[in-house]
């Protein structure tokens, strides 16, 4: 059991690193112009929305991985 906990922590760490890469790849180049003084606000709002969606997606994936790794223990 304890070995699977180490595996789960390692997978979480990998997902944080990869998630950071995706976040920077998607959000980094994103720049919204042409809305005057509202451009910065719109830019931030869209970035925030994408980030929140990514976090929700990550939680969903982590939940699936949790069920996969701890399947036996959780069922018992």
């Amino acid at each position: 059991m304890k070995a699977s906990l180490y595996v789960y922590i390692f997978v979480m760490w990998l997902m944080i690193v990869v998630g950071g890469g995706i976040l920077i790849a998607i959000l980094g180049p994103l720049k919204i112009d042409g809305f005057g003084k509202y451009s910065e606000l719109l830019d931030s709002t869209i970035k925030a929305a994408i980030s929140i969606l990514l976090v929700v997606l990550w939680i969903f994936i982590m939940s699936k991985i949790k069920n996969l790794i701890f399947h036996k223990q959780i069922k018992n």
């Binding site: 890469g21 976040l23 223990q73």
Partner: protein, 336 residues
């Protein structure tokens, strides 16, 4: 550099000695005023003094105030004020049990000094960006406010939720906070690294009295204080991701708990305990289907273990995460 080393030694010594000296009289006072709770995991169910938060906050305030006297840094002031507000929230919860949602909301409000001092002294308290290993950073001005507001309740409650066995919260915090300090040195943020030292030494000194068999429990005031200070250091030190990595075993515990109960509730509201005792008073996983899945339940899933053994199993996981956090800190300077 010599001056910084001397200051680091002074604040570390103040933090350690304050908690080491204040905790024994605090235990006596709490016992005299009958502020004790039953330790259900101990044979005979001994009464243990609670809360230890006052000695924890005494160590933090004494050391951080001295540090502020040296450098007058707004970041250190943010650490002092946010941690103290979180302590008050915890103390209120220790005195009178607060509702499930009240605590996260009150802790979110504790983050106000970070935001306000950020307006007063831009770029010295926080930067509205997240740094990731290998890939660089992303600026998120609007979202970063939300991150600050969420960070303190998350770190506070994460440490609080792992405070289930003798010595675990303080021992875990000692490992995680020293990993954070090392990481701050690696990313060359020396001032905040020094400001983070008291957290490790306060946790270490408190562990002396909290380890199995506990003489005192931190209570919500102790656990929330430690967690809130950790979260604040992550923000003012610009090491949010590294801090999250060092905290992973506790994060997993909260994640497992929330995904099995599917709502925010206190441990005391649970209808079934995740672990039970064997005849020789070891901890074993319960067969109750209504009990939540927790880190401790998974650790004892294969065989019953003593409370001390479970504690050390959690510390080994914490050391593994600490190593990953330090590796992450080294990866911050590497670009793909």
């Amino acid at each position: 550099m010599l001056e910084k080393t001397i200051v680091a030694i002074i604040v570390s010594a103040i933090a350690f000695v304050t908690v080491y000296a204040v905790t024994p009289p605090l235990i006596k006072t709490l016992e005299k005023r009958k502020l004790v709770v039953k330790d259900y995991n101990r044979v005979g169910g001994a009464n243990v003094a609670r809360p230890g938060g006052p000695s924890v906050i005494a160590g933090i305030l004494a050391s951080e105030t001295v540090l502020y006297a040296f450098y007058s840094s707004p970041a250190v002031l943010a650490i002092i004020l946010t941690t103290f507000l979180a302590f008050l929230v915890g103390l209120a919860d220790d005195r009178k049990v607060l509702g499930g949602w009240f605590k996260p909301l009150a802790l979110a409000a504790s983050a106000a000094p970070i935001i306000l001092l950020g307006f007063y002294a831009p770029h010295t308290v926080y930067e509205p960006q997240l740094s990731f290993p290998l890939f660089g950073y992303v600026k998120i001005p609007l979202l970063y406010f939300a991150l600050i507001v969420f960070m303190i309740p998350i770190t506070g409650n994460t440490i609080n939720s792992i405070d289930v066995l003798n010595g675990v919260a303080s021992g875990f915090m000692t490992i995680a906070s020293f990993a954070l300090t090392i990481s701050l040195f690696i990313v060359h943020n020396y001032d905040i690294a020094i400001a983070s030292l008291p957290l490790g030494f306060v946790s270490l000194a408190f562990y002396k009295y909290h380890k199995f068999p506990s003489k005192i429990f931190p209570g919500d005031s102790g656990a929330l204080t430690l967690g809130a200070m950790y979260g604040t250091i992550a923000i003012v030190g610009h090491v949010e991701i590294i801090a999250a990595v060092a905290l992973l075993p506790a994060v997993i515990n909260s994640f497992l708990f929330l995904s099995s109960v599917k709502r925010i509730i206190e441990h005391r509201q649970l209808k079934a305990n995740p672990v039970e005792h064997t005849e020789d008073f070891k901890l074993k996983a319960t067969a109750d289907k209504n009990a939540p899945v927790t880190l401790v339940r998974l650790i004892v899933a294969n065989r019953p273990m003593t409370e001390k053994e479970v504690g050390f199993a959690i510390f080994k996981l914490a050391l593994f995460s600490a190593a990953l956090a330090i590796i992450t800190a080294f990866m911050m300077d590497v670009r793909l």
